[in-house]
Symmetry: C2
Subunit: 150 residues, 2 copies
Amino acid sequence: MQTNPRIQGIVEKLKQAGCRITPQRLAILEVVTESRDHLTAEQIHALVAQRFPTTSLATVYKTVNLLRDEGELIELGFSGSAGTRYDGARPAPHPHLICVRCNRILDPEIRLFDELPGELTESYGYRILSHRIDIYGICPECQAAESRSQ
Amino acid sequence: MQTNPRIQGIVEKLKQAGCRITPQRLAILEVVTESRDHLTAEQIHALVAQRFPTTSLATVYKTVNLLRDEGELIELGFSGSAGTRYDGARPAPHPHLICVRCNRILDPEIRLFDELPGELTESYGYRILSHRIDIYGICPECQAAESRSQ
DNA sequence: GTTCGTGCAAATCCTTTGCAGCGAC
DNA sequence: GTCGCTGCAAAGGATTTGCACGAAC
């Protein structure tokens, strides 16, 4: 029995798209929508395994891609060691604040950006669909750790 | 004989860092700093091959990573089919306007962003190093192509 | 009962790496 | 002459795919 309205809505949408609601999909859905972190595929797999142990990594990938295509999850690809992260808690585009030392990702509160895309439509004729804003820096904890080790 | 001052400066910096200036590196340097496009590793390789035919893809990767570490080139990782792109023409962070149909990347003129990172230092204690801003949409040409094929 | 989804393993793609020989300095 | 750079081929990691079985509907 699922009481989270967001999840209920996604389940409805998936059903109407002709998708079946398997226990694996439900477990992945719960993990990605309820986590405040920005998880890797491996992390999602590990968390899902606690609730539904036999789920495979391949199924995790298939499901997050499905959710991404449905607009219910954001895929954040990074170059280098940070890899790909998934954000299912807040599917609308929003800025990310990323620590380059520990790779932690924060969601800062900035409204400014949301108005901006509109400007580009007039200037360049683009039809704006979404945007991605990443701010890279060093978090307070890592700054402290660095000054300690110097 | 190299007359481009930007390239001259990078060559100097590399020499002082103990790096050797090989013909391959110089050819790659010219390609990435002079192209207004946001090239893939394959594209860089193809363009360099015109000037210095025996250059390998591995050397392209090694050199762009070197330039990235020196801060002379920006690496733009995308998830999905767009892959990784390199921008050596404008090494300072700046917004990108990306067509989701043809994957073309434009550099829109927006100053607004440059002031913003400072705000985050006070609010979250992060030491801001750089940022990345991507706006996704459909370019005028692809919009026209789509309305034609409907 | 019919599909569709799953899980496994293999395949694929992109990027990095180990190493022998070459070339910049 | 030394040591870093190159190019090859092989390794590596992340993600996708093909297929037979099992499960949702």
